[in-house]
Structure formats: structure tokens, C-alpha cells
């Protein structure tokens, strides 16, 4: 009974479709992180132009962390892409 249900689910959500869903999720996360990074750059620039330098170093560190997160998600996208497309 359970095997039947799993077979049905597997036919309804084939690996290609699951791969696409995972990639879409990762893309959404990257987009959100990018928006945060854009806001951070704008706020840092505005603060710097106003002569306030105390937040510049933390902002650069956080921006670097966001870049690393985006890079990790991109590697995930590439891995899912390769795994899904290499199936026979």
C-alpha cells in the first residue's frame, strides 16, 4: 500500500521537477540576500558620505558573509543541476 503511494508520488513529482523546485527556492533566497546587500551598500554609502565611519567595517564584513551565502547557494544550484541532468 505504502509502496503504491510512493510510486504515485514519484510519478507525480519526477526528479527533474523536484530539481527545478529546489533551484527555484535557492534562486529566491539568493535574490533576497542580494536585496539585503543592496540596502546595506546604500546605507553604508550614505553614512560614509555624512562623515560617519564607525559602521563601515561591520558593513563590509556582513556584505562578505552575504556574498559567501550567495556563493554557497550557487554551488547548491550547480550541484542539483548537474545531478538532475546527469540522470539517464
Amino acid at each position: 500500500m505504502d509502496m503504491d503511494r510512493m510510486d504515485r508520488q514519484a510519478s507525480r513529482y519526477p526528479p527533474e521537477r523536484r530539481g527545478l523546485t529546489a533551484i527555484d527556492g535557492a534562486l529566491s533566497l539568493i535574490a533576497i540576500l542580494l536585496i539585503v546587500q543592496m540596502w546595506l551598500l546604500t546605507a553604508t554609502l550614505e553614512s560614509f558620505l555624512a562623515g560617519h565611519r564607525e559602521g563601515v567595517l561591520p558593513a563590509a564584513a556582513v556584505s562578505g558573509l552575504l556574498l559567501l551565502a550567495c556563493l554557497g547557494l550557487y554551488l547548491f544550484v550547480e550541484a542539483v543541476d548537474r545531478e538532475t541532468r546527469s540522470r539517464p
Binding site: L27, Q37, L67
Partner: protein
């Protein structure tokens, strides 16, 4: 991303340009992800650039420097000068017979040059319509969040001398 690519069985072109239409969705998404990550790298480089500029600028020093002679500026008039460095424009305003005020001319919003609006008796930024009080430099209206830095003036005989900068409004 060749750095992370395992020694692949497939040639590079086959991964980048698929000959199967069903794979197009994957290729497009992966390339879009790559574009987003490169944009993220650009944002990070921007933050690094600000950090480097901040480090290069160092801490300002405030030498005592003559700004104007006492009678040089008429009442209601202004004189532009640079303090403490040659790239720091400032504005001196004579509001009364013996009433002077001087501020940095860089708007605290996005560094546009402010000017003295005599009729309204306030400092105005023409870029985004920010207004500052001439009395103490605080924000009256508009997008700036911080007061204009005030140039500390001392009178030495017939001359007005700038001796420092202050970011806090003074009543």
C-alpha cells in the same frame, strides 16, 4: 566556476548550451544564479571600496586658520572657504553685526553643496530639498538625518579664526 568543477566527462559547451530543450530550464536558471552571485560580488566590492576610502582618509586634524576679516562680509552675506582640508568646503554666514556662523557645505544626506537662503534664513540643499537651521545646523526639513557639522569660530582681534569642527548642534 571552473574552480569547483570536477574533472568532468562532459565538455564545457555541453553544460553551458544544452542540446535538449528540456534542459534549457536548468541552464537558464543556473546562468541567472551566476548573474545574481556576480552582482552580489559587485555589492561586496562596493563595500570594500568604502572601507578602503575610510581607512585612507584617516582622522582629520583641525588647525587654527583665518577665515575672514570681521568687516569683510556684509550682514546677510556669505563667504565660502575650505576647512580643515582643501577638499572640505565650508560656508561662513554673517547674520548680524557681530553674529557669525560657519558650517560644512556638504549636505549630510548625499554631500551636495548647501547654500544660504537669505529670505528664509536657513541653509538649503538644492538636490533633495533638505533644509538646515542657520542658528545651530540642525535639520529643519527633508531627507538629511544628521545636523550640518559646525565650524567652531574664534574671534582674534579683527579676524575670524576656525579652530575646529563640531557635529553636535549648539543652541
Amino acid at each position: 566556476m571552473k574552480l569547483f568543477r570536477p574533472s568532468s566527462r562532459e565538455p564545457l559547451w555541453r553544460e553551458e548550451i544544452s542540446i535538449f530543450s528540456a534542459d534549457e530550464r536548468y541552464v537558464n536558471r543556473r546562468q541567472f544564479a551566476k548573474f545574481l552571485v556576480l552582482t552580489s560580488l559587485g555589492m561586496f566590492v562596493g563595500n570594500l571600496w568604502i572601507l578602503v576610502r575610510s581607512w585612507l582618509a584617516g582622522r582629520p586634524i583641525y588647525p587654527a586658520r583665518q577665515v575672514a576679516l570681521a568687516g569683510e562680509v556684509p550682514v546677510g552675506g556669505v563667504k565660502l572657504f575650505r576647512y580643515p582640508g582643501p577638499e572640505d568646503p565650508c560656508i561662513l554666514i554673517r547674520r548680524g553685526e557681530d553674529e557669525y556662523a560657519a558650517y560644512s557645505q556638504k549636505c549630510t544626506h548625499l554631500s551636495c553643496a548647501v547654500y544660504y537662503a537669505r529670505q528664509e534664513d536657513r541653509l538649503a540643499c538644492p538636490c533633495h530639498e533638505g533644509y538646515f537651521s542657520v542658528r545651530d545646523g540642525r535639520v529643519l526639513q527633508g531627507p538629511p538625518q544628521r545636523p550640518l557639522p559646525r565650524v567652531v569660530l574664534r574671534r582674534r582681534g579683527d579676524t575670524l579664526v576656525a579652530v575646529g569642527m563640531s557635529s553636535h548642534p549648539e543652541a
